[in-house]
Structures are given as C-alpha cells and as structure tokens.
Symmetry: C2
Subunit: 377 residues, 2 copies
C-alpha cells in the first residue's frame, strides 16, 4: 500500500482537527437554533463544523458553478451535476471525521485523474438514481450526516466574471484564479436557472443565515445569482451573518477591503438585509487620530493602502498573503444601514488565511446573544 497514491483533502482534515478541539464549551440552549450556511466547498465547511460543534441545527446551500479539477472532468465528460463543493460540505456534516468511510470519502486518487472517491460516488449515485439530490441524500446517510446539504440549483450553470480592470473571465475555475480582483460575476445557463426547492425551504426555516467564509465571488455570490435565492433571504425571518474573509490567498478579491466585500454582496443581490458582519482584525480598531496619519505612513501601514490601490490599476497578485483591510470609518459606513459589525481576532494561528473555528464559534455566540432578548447584551 502506497500512501502517496491517496491524498486526503488537506484543508478539510486539519480543519476538522481544529474544530474537534472546541468540544462543547458553549452553554446549552443553542439546540433550538437553526442555521443555514450559504457558500461553496472551501469556506462553508468551517462554518458548518463550527455551528455543529455549538449544537446548532445546521444545513447548507451550496454553489453549483464549480468547473475545475475532478468536478470539471465529471461535468465535461460524464455530464453530471458538479459534485465537488457538495462533497466537501457533506464531509463537514459527517458524524465522525475518523470513521473509515468518512476518511475514504475524502480520498483523492492521483492515479485516477485526481478524482476523489466522494465525487465519483455522488456521480455514480446520480446515474443510479437519476437524481442528484437523491445521490446527496444517500451519501449523507452513509456519512451519518448531522445536517442536510442542498445545491442552490440543479441547472447547468457557468460562472462568468468581469475584473476590475475590465477583462471578462469564463468559468469558475478561471475566475477564482484571476490575478486581479473581480468586480461583477453572473451565471450563464441554457435557460433561467431555477432554485432548488429544498434550498429555499432551508432558508425560510432558518433562524440564522450564515454567508461564508469563503471565496466571495466564486463560492458565496454564485448562490445569490440563482433567481429566488436572494428573495428567499429577503423574506426569511432569519438574521443574516456575513463572515468576511480575513485574508486573500486568491486573486479574485485581491486588495478588496472589508467594506468592499460587503458592497460586492449588496451589488449582487443580498440587499441591505445583512444583519451582522463578522470581520477579523488582529488589533483593536479605533478612530484614527489625525496626527497619527503621517506617523503610519512612515511606519509602513501605507504599504497596505498601496496594495489596495494596486488592484484598481489591474496590477497582478503578488506572492504575499494580505489581510483584508478594515478601518473604523468603514465599520461606521457598513453600520449606517442597520448592519451590526463585530470585529474579532479570528485567525487560525497556523494558517493565516483561515478562520480559527473556536474563535469563530465565540463570534457566533456573541451574535446569538445579541439576538436573545432575555440576555439583553
């Protein structure tokens, strides 16, 4: 047996470990809460596992525009519904991450065109049942899933993007590898895509809708581009929580500040019903005294500002990972529409582009407290 031939999803595996350390440090009382996570395959699992660790009834609505890697091959050659993002979210709902079937579900076969077992299972079950949601349901059952995963649409959709410097990119795999920040994304499909009805129901049933974390334009927003999804968010009784990226490792949001993340969501249909925005900051955000400006320019925080300028000019992604910028003034602006901004240090000390689940859990807990009239926070 050659372990080299089998690769676990590295992010999912270490993420699980971080989350499983949380245990149940939270007071009981969240069990009645229902949350639905809206996102894609990379960031959504962080919210899913975090919410599950807090005892919250969780489901997920997942973007269906992925066309890269194993999923891309499956879409192109087997004409199936894209399984990749669904697979990653399903794995996050698994009862026991150490269960052999759950581990195997996440294996990637380098000797078989880099497919994962989970992708192949979803596609084979889609063929066997004639229904992608049925395939998802069966895999969920085999994983002892603690919640349901719903595709946002079953239509065959392709994501297109326009960059800030005016180029058009075709396909999600291309868009998420953009070297300059994106401005707008839209779906292309044979007809008008229809929302998957169970996804709509999950949004209506939720007490909290959690957007992200994850790639803004290629994981979160593609869900909002399915007609019916933003309307359901608008009409749902749920409070919305946007978990803003804390750093950029892809080019698609290169140089965008936190308020620009929020603006992009609003521009793509989320309207003004963002109730909470969770923003990472390693330091306390305070109003900037006028005197300090010149000091900071000398001390180097101007480098950040110049990075944010770069993307405007279509300059390509540098190799550095940059934090998403947030200022006191921007927080004030985001809150003008009634949105509450919570700034927390939420970075994973080991992985500077990832949320640290225990910290994210504390931030969620703060939101839930703010929503419980009796606690009067």
């Amino acid at each position: 047996m050659s372990s080299e031939a089998f690769k676990q999803e590295p992010t999912l595996t270490s993420m699980f470990q971080a989350i499983d350390r949380i245990d149940t440090q939270f007071p009981h009382g969240y069990n009645d809460l229902k949350a639905v996570v809206i996102g894609g395959g990379t960031g959504a699992p962080v919210s899913i596992r975090t919410l599950l660790s807090m005892g919250i009834q969780t489901s997920a609505v997942v973007a269906m525009a992925d066309d890269g890697g194993s999923t891309g091959i499956l879409r192109a050659e087997a004409k199936v519904t894209p399984p990749g993002d669904i697979r990653k979210c399903l794995a996050a709902f698994a009862e026991n991450p150490d269960d052999p079937f759950t581990k195997a579900f996440k294996y990637r076969f380098e000797f078989a065109r880099n497919h994962t077992l989970g992708n192949l299972m979803l596609s084979a079950l889609e063929e066997a049942t004639g229904s992608f949601p049925e395939a998802v349901k069966i895999c969920g059952k085999l994983l002892g899933s603690k919640g349901r995963v719903y595709p946002s649409t079953l239509n065959n959709v392709v994501l297109n993007a326009r960059t800030l410097d005016g180029r058009t990119l075709h396909g999600q795999a291309t868009a998420c590898k953009s070297e300059t920040a994106l401005d707008t994304v839209w779906l292309e499909s044979a007809g008008q895509p229809m929302p998957y009805v169970e996804a709509i129901r999950a949004i209506y049933d939720a007490d909290f809708i959690v957007l992200g974390p994850g790639s803004l334009f290629t994981s979160i927003i593609p869900n909002l581009l399915v007609p019916g999804i933003p309307e359901a968010i608008e009409r749902s009784k749920a409070k919305t929580i946007f978990v803003c990226s804390l750093a950029d490792q892809q080019g698609e949001t290169w140089g965008l500040s936190a308020i620009e993340h929020v603006d992009a969501l609003r521009r793509h249909g989320i309207g003004r019903n963002l109730d909470y925005v969770l923003i990472h900051s390693a330091e306390k955000i305070a109003p900037r005294p006028p005197l300090q400006d010149s000091f900071e320019a000398i001390a180097g925080s101007g480098a950040l500002a110049s990075a944010h300028q770069e993307n405007r000019e279509g300059k390509p992604l540098s190799a550095n990972i940059r934090s998403v910028e947030v200022t006191y003034e921007d927080i004030q602006k985001i809150q003008q529409d009634g949105t509450v901004v919570l700034v927390r240090n939420m970075v994973d000390p080991q992985r500077p582009t990832w949320h640290y689940p225990p910290a994210l859990a504390r931030a969620f807990a703060d939101v839930f407290r703010l929503n419980t009239p009796s606690s009067g926070a």
Copy 2:
C-alpha cells in the same frame, strides 16, 4: 448526464436478472446448510447468487492474483490488495441488486481509467483502515451483504503459467488471455503466501465447498495454490462440488475436456476429495456403440475431437466458442475415485458460455438430496 460514461458490469447485471427470476421455488430446509464458494470474480458470483436464492448460508473465498484492468492499475500504482474479484463477489452478495448504492458500486468510469467505484472504495477503505479485510467488511455492510467474502491470501501474489506447448506466461491477465491451453500454474511472491485465517475457517465450517464455475487456471486454482487451502479442504467435513465450465471463451482451457478440467484440479492440489462434479451436456451421455463411430466422423462430431487435438499442438484459439467435451468413458473414469458426476443441461439459452442459474440450482438441489440420508435418493 451521459449514461455512456458509466458502465455497469454487463455480465453481473444480466446474471442478477436471471437469478432473481428463480425466486424461492425450492422447498425450505436448505437454510441450515452452509456453503463456501471458492473461485474468482466472474464465475463465483453465479454460484453465490444461485446458492443464496436457495436459502443457503453462503460465503466465498476469492483468488487474489488478479493483475489486469483497474485492479492492475491499483496494484501497480497504489500498491493495494487486488480488489476486483472481491468486488464482484461482494456485489453478488448484495441484498438488493436494484439498490442505488449496489448499482453505483458496480459502475465503471470510462473517464477515470476504467476504474469501478467498488474497486476505488475497497482501495480507499483499505488505506483508511489499514486493513483490506476491514475494507471488505465495510463494503459488505454498505451493500447489505447476505454473506461474507474472504480473500484466500493477503500476500502480494503473482500468477505464473506454463502452456501445454511449453511457454511460460507471467501474470494472471496474461495467462487468462493465453491463446493455447495452460498446463500448470503457480504463485510467485516475496515469501511463502499465508492463507487468510477467516477463509480457512469458512472452509472448515462449510457443509459444501463449491469450486467454480469460472476460469479454471486463473480463478479457481489460484486459491488452491495458497498453502493451507487445499489442506483445509481435505480436512473439512464438507462435501466438495466442482462446477465444470460448460464452454470456453478464453484460451486458457482451449480444447480441454471435462476430465482434463478435473485432472488439472487434482494436479494442483485438490487431491481426490472431489465429491461431486457437475458437468453440462445439452444431450444425454450414453456409451458409444462401436458402429456409430464412423457415422459421427462423417456427420461432423469429429470436428470437436480435432479442436481438442489442436491445443496439444499449440494451435491458437479460433474465434468459435466450443463446448467442453464430455464422454461416457470419461465420466466412468472420473467416478473411479468415488467422485459422483452429475450431467445436466445447464447452459444459459442467451449466453452459451454461462451457466443458467435456475438449472444450476436444480443441479445443486440434486447434490443436496444425495447427501440427505432421509431422502434416500
């Protein structure tokens, strides 16, 4: 969705249909019987499903020398235990052949180097658990398996063969594509291969050991080449039943008569403890009156004899499918050692190289009756 991209094992699928038509036409009373089928991935499932349809407690001991196709890639590139034959037998034990997971388990992905989902699952689970038998157990559970499947050995073995015309062939995939009949096969491995202990136990526990049907030298005999397996068969209280091939579609037994099949088994360690041999014949076998000889030579049955001669001379396989020859005189010879030969018409009307499960079931029933003292058949 493109159904072209997903292929079911064609033989397994239609085989299931034939067997599922049997239903339970047999009187109850077989439920106390235990059978173990010894073979490979193509023929053994026919016996497995037939025995299950009769209500018999069935398990299987499966050859581990396969090195072709998807299994060959997995052995060579991922260094796993060969899953192919085990997968086919597991599928034969599945509770419900129409269950979506069972269907998916058998899918073959043309877009992923022709791997089957079942093979990839077994290999990923072997990696996840660190144990091939554990992987087999988990898949059996997921399939609602009606019986256990055991590898005959866990050692990494390679099958070598010598043909009747004196050539040496390396590997099972090569041997089973031989264009001339084989004479001898043997296993090559780093050390002495050890029998898998549960396989030995199943052989001891059985009331009936069913060898075949299936490829004689590449599916049945490789099990007997594992030291300890023939000894277990010898010492088991079980009666042995050899289901002789009824026709040849591969070259490895090209031109071999039924008695030559039996001789090959004896030559490879099965000893004289063959209790029953089931031989197919479409016509009644009677002693040949001396006068008829010259008539038959004119009428054409001599063509068969000349085919049997061909393999002796190392002539290659012709495109025709030939029945395995059986004569009255050979039956007498096989029975000299106490073996009972049952000759039945057992061919599948649609597929001239396959046993028809309902006919095989009736033949098994005859054997079981012969073994029940009270019925006094």
